[in-house]
């Protein structure tokens, strides 16, 4: 059957080991093993942290016989994960897929292609949903008692929950894409809207009551509210917790009907939207063409800036840290008292305000890892840099500088505002500036090394590089590693040395490490480039 043949091709194209790992396991086994270990470590640490949080939360709920609340969390997490995935990917999977010109001339029904595309997209959603909700489900069964039928009902339901968001947010994804394609500043507006949306969610969840033994108790009312008013959420809880077969049948009926209706509804639309994307509209302009001469590093940085703002997921992922620094810098002046109370929670573990601010800024800096992925993002354009008479080190330093420009000014802004709000001493401020500068340079440099050794040029969608590549994972981890080393030094010296001395020592260590990184890139970038 053609559907299965198509699926086989799509899965091979999207889920092959080579695509996921970014390297051929047959030719570079050691590299592949390292990548697999890093991925397992990355997901393992996230799942363990998440698992512990929900295990503890389940314990609290079981004391008051309310473990069913965990099912609200399962429903909301599964729904939001699906919304997030569909918003970002549905347009590329359904309405503007890259292999349209290959598939369209073939004697295959559009409906079959859509079904196969939907199946692949759903497979990714299910993979994420099952992985993220499994610790919550574990906590539910551990504290509420295990039941095979309940588990079967839960698994069936988890296959159904993403279908409603899939139907609704596929259209949202198409609308966003159409909007950004048709207006000159549509892309910028799209980025602003997405940031507003997610910052809104953050503000909303932070404004909820944050009290009790577990941080999750603050989200409880909101989550139970959602599944109370969304009928599928209500049915899901009834089906799993009370083994209500009618509720399960309702959930199955509604979800399957929605999916079937959706496929019929979009069948013609998919062909139309894909056909529209095949044609290019060229606008002519009489505006004078300006020739400029600039330093090649400036050119590379400029190119990076344009690439950054041209890829929504790139801005969204790597721009979140700088935006949070900017918002934080302003917020600390306005909500000084609230933030002091919040920071005070941490002071219980023996950290001063200065150290906490540095830790927070350090974490935000770790989220900006453009230097760890920007070489990969060259993708099919990499031939340009390789064929030009530009040294590999120049390319890497340009990419590194872009990362620093993106991070450092806003990190310093946030630091200065914090210093103003919390009246930091002048000497402390000086060493903190030195520390942030050293951290930004070292973090960017390590990112460059990561990308030199773990590039991923073979990708269909930039999301694969920005969010799922080994470069992205290691880029963030490398900054966490520096922060951990700096924190350990702080922890062991805090009783014998003053804050400014310790931070100065941390900064010196970072500068020394950066010197090593700098010379490594200078020496090794070209030979590595030649092999890529």
């Amino acid at each position: 059957m053609m559907y299965f043949k198509l699926m086989k091709v799509f899965f091979k194209e999207n889920l092959s080991l080579k695509r996921i790992l970014g390297t051929d396991i047959k030719t570079s086994k050691i590299k592949a093993i390292l990548i697999i270990i890093a991925i397992i470590y990355g997901f393992g640490s996230i799942l363990l942290g998440f698992g512990y949080l929900f295990f503890d939360f389940g314990r609290i709920l079981s004391e008051v016989n309310m473990t069913y609340i965990l099912l609200d969390f399962v429903f909301v997490y599964a729904t939001f994960l699906s919304v997030f995935f569909v918003l970002f990917r549905a347009n590329g999977y359904l309405f503007h897929y890259k292999d349209f010109d290959i598939l369209q001339p073939l004697p295959i029904k559009s409906r079959t292609i859509i079904l196969a595309k939907l199946t692949v997209m759903l497979a990714f959603i299910y993979l994420t949903v099952f992985m993220i909700v499994s610790p919550i489900a574990f906590s539910y069964f551990y504290h509420g008692g295990f039941d095979v039928i309940k588990l079967i009902f839960l698994i069936i339901s988890l296959f159904l929950i993403p279908l409603l968001p899939l139907v609704i947010f596929s259209f949202a994804s198409l609308l966003i894409a159409r909007f950004s394609a048709n207006f000159r500043y549509g892309k910028a507006l799209n980025i602003i809207l997405m940031f507003t949306f997610f910052l809104g969610i953050m503000y909303f969840s932070m404004s909820m009551n944050f009290s009790g033994d577990s941080p999750l108790t603050g989200q409880m009312d909101f989550f139970t509210g959602i599944s109370k008013y969304v009928i599928t959420g209500k049915w899901f809880k009834l089906a799993v917790d009370e083994l209500n077969v009618l509720a399960l049948l309702g959930l199955i009926g509604v979800s399957v009907a929605l999916l079937v209706g959706f496929v019929f509804l979009i069948e013609k639309m998919v062909v139309k939207t894909n056909q529209m994307s095949m044609s290019t509209r060229v606008r002519t302009s009489k505006k004078t063409v300006i020739s400029k001469r600039r330093n090649i590093i400036v050119n590379i940085i400029d190119k990076e800036v344009k690439k950054f703002f041209n890829v929504t997921i790139y801005v969204f992922n790597s721009g979140f840290g700088p935006i949070m620094m900017a918002i934080g810098g302003v917020a600390i002046l306005i909500f000084k008292e609230d933030l002091l109370a919040y920071i005070d929670v941490f002071s219980g573990i023996g950290l001063g305000f200065e150290a906490i601010i540095l830790l927070m800024l350090g974490f935000l800096i770790s989220t900006v890892f453009t230097s760890a992925i920007s070489l990969s993002l060259e993708g099919k354009n990499f031939w340009i840099l390789k064929s030009l008479p530009i040294k590999a080190e120049t390319v890497m330093f340009g990419k590194m500088l872009f990362n620093i420009i993106l991070t450092l000014p806003l990190a310093l802004f946030a630091l200065f505002m914090s210093g103003l709000a919390l009246s930091f001493e002048f000497v402390n401020m000086l060493v903190m500036v030195l520390y942030l500068v050293s951290l930004c340079f070292l973090s960017s440099g390590l990112g460059s090394i990561v990308n030199l050794h773990f590039p991923k040029f073979n990708y269909v969608n930039e999301t694969e590089v920005v969010k799922q590549s080994l470069g992205a994972i290691l880029g963030m981890f490398s900054t966490w590693l520096i922060l951990t080393v700096n924190a350990v030094i702080y922890y062991y010296l805090r009783d014998s040395q003053s804050f400014e001395v310790i931070i100065f020592l941390d900064a010196l260590l970072n500068i020394a490490l950066f010197a090593v990184v700098f010379f490594y890139i200078k020496k090794q970038a070209q030979p590595i480039f030649n092999k890529l």
Binding site: V289, R293, K303, K306, W383, S387, K531
Partner: protein, 237 residues
Amino acid sequence: MLKITSVSKSYDQKKLAIDKINLEILPGDIYGFIGHNGAGKTTLLKSIAGILNFDEGEISIFEKSIVKDNLEAKKIMAYIPDNPDIYESLSGIQYLNFIADAYDVDLERRRNLINKYAKMFEIDEVLNNPISSYSHGMKQKVVIMSALIHSPKVMILDEPFVGLDPKASYLLKEVFHELVEQGSLIFFSTHVLEVAEKLCNKVAIIKNGKIVADGRTEDIIKDQSLENIFIELLKES
């Protein structure tokens, strides 16, 4: 002179994609490179351009080794790939300025050349637009312009006529003649044997990674057509 001496490359350490290739391309040559799909044309062209490493042999561009003197060799060379994949987030003029800066072309010169070629290829009115809005042919024209912007002594082109309209193809051939008159050399692959026959003073035919014929076009084709020769050579085991 572009000198390729005993160059071999394997992708899997089992089968050679190009096998001990020897070629000499002199200033003034328009050298056509012909071969079946998968014969090794792109591998050799990319090796010359410094994009791919090769396992054995030596490639020198006007006495500068592409391995040992990589940057100096690249400075006098331009490469055009078979697919015009370029930075779509830049505008045409931004891309051209970027390439010109990489080759350190002075402002006056680049202004003149951009004006000349933009008008010639009729893309002067779209150079301020993002490359993402260009058609395939327009992207190809920008790539060609970026290669011409520093008046290279060596031009390496992989299927340069694909995607070009007849007028642009004609103009590109004119540019080839103009360049070789100034002492440059051109080495390009093509599947269009008529183009090779009429345009090139020399040709090389590659089969399964090995050069099976090379030299002056008239000496190779004699009283036959290049197409006949090519088919005959492919048939031979």
